[in-house]
Amino acid sequence: MNINLTLFGQSIAFIVFVWFCMKYIWPPIMNALEQRKKTIADGLAAAERGKRERELGEQRATEVIKGAKGKAVEVIASAEKRGAEIVEQAKTDAKLEGERIITAARAEIEQDVQRAREALRSEVAALATAGAEQILGKEVDAAVHAKMLDELATQL
């Protein structure tokens, strides 16, 4: 248990060990630890960001869906309105068409009546002439009595 040169030997060994530890052991391990800390922090931050982005996305999706729903309601309403309009239009058109057809038919009927009346008139004139011929027993000169016959015809 004497104090001797071992004292200095131990001091030197100690200093060399500390130097080696400071140079080759401490920095790489601390670096790795720091880096891992950073990686973990980054990962957590990324997860947090992802979560926030998902929330935002969900919010946006909800908004889009809400908008789409509103639009759909609008479209349906306008379509219904338009349908009603079309139906109304069709009704009006049909009414007009019907009236037109009726008018045309009436006009035609009128014309037919007129025509029939004309035909009847000439027939009646002929019949009257023939009747008169028979009554008078002689031929009535049509040309001579044309004026009279025409007057008769118009009276009919």
Partner: protein
């Protein structure tokens, strides 16, 4: 395991003697054949066993941690690397907790002190006779007298080892005190407190008193640091040696010795760890004080 031809006293003395290499009084170099010769060698001698085991353990520490440091990545650590990182973080936390200055040397210094002292102390848990007995047998093969082959395997039971470390720490304390506070600041720290005075005459009168008190305080730091470690480990080693004496006393005493050795070893694990930790923490605290400006 004490040989039949050895008395208890001789057995204990043999275990407490370092393997000393140095200058004999007649001027020749050689191994000391006993405590008497070792003492006569005076300062110019070296304890081969202390040096060998401490340097070996220091190299084991550096090798293991260097291996871990090379493999250290930011990926998930596994096995041994995990353990090393745990130790490093433990030291880092402690240094951050008690060292407020900025010095990249303190944390590696603390790591080296802690692991190295821990490994040296752990040698105490190796049964006291294993390594010395093996060494004696091997030395006998080379024709040496086994009675003069000494092997003290726990370096921290040699005051040279503990003082070697604490003096290096003391040198660092002085260096950083002078560097951070300046020679005048350091001198003021040693002479202007704990007794303070406004009066210049009183101030000068207080100076020697303060220097005496602070000087003792300063010098007691390395001495207490090393003697605490040495005392604890030496006492522990001594008890192991005393327990080992029981092994030569028959079956009953031998079994009792075995039980006692086991029990003391379990308790000693605490001392081994605690003393390494205390040495490390106090070193960090002392260096922190050296970095502190008033």
């Amino acid at each position: 395991m004490a040989s039949e031809n050895l008395t208890s006293t001789a057995y204990i003395k043999h275990h407490l003697q370092n393997l000393t290499f140095g200058v004999h009084p007649d001027g020749s170099w050689g191994l000391a054949h006993g405590a008497q010769e070792a003492r006569e060698m005076g300062f110019w001698a070296i304890h081969l066993d202390t040096m060998f085991w401490s340097v070996l353990l220091g190299c084991v520490f550096l090798w293991l941690f260097r291996k871990a440091a090379k493999r250290a990545t930011s990926d998930t650590p596994s096995g041994f690397l995990n353990f090393v990182e745990w130790v490093v973080e433990f030291i880092d936390d402690n240094v951050r907790g008690s060292f407020s200055g900025k010095n990249d040397m303190v944390a590696p210094l603390a790591l080296t002190l802690f692991v190295w002292i821990l490994l040296q102390n752990t040698m105490d848990l190796v049964p006291v006779d294993w390594i010395p007995w093996t060494t004696q047998k091997i030395a006998a093969l080379f024709g040496a007298d086994p009675r003069h082959v000494y092997m003290k395997v726990v370096p921290t039971t040699d005051p040279n080892a503990t003082f070697g470390m604490s003096f290096a720490v003391f040198a660092l304390m002085l260096y950083y005190s002078l560097k951070i506070k300046g020679p005048l600041g350091f001198a003021a720290e040693l002479t202007m407190q704990p007794f303070e005075a406004k009066n210049p005459v009183l101030k000068i009168l207080f100076m020697p008193v303060n220097l005496f008190l602070e000087g003792i305080g300063l010098l007691s730091k390395p001495v207490s640091l090393s003697l605490r470690l040495f005392g604890n480990l030496f006492a522990g080693e001594m008890i192991f040696i005393l327990i080992a004496l029981l092994f030569s006393g028959g079956v009953v005493l031998g079994l009792l010795g075995g039980a006692l050795q086991w029990a003391w070893a379990v308790f000693h694990i605490l001392i081994v760890l605690l003393q390494a930790f205390i040495f490390m923490v106090l070193t960090v605290v002392y260096l922190d004080m050296a970095h502190h400006e008033h």
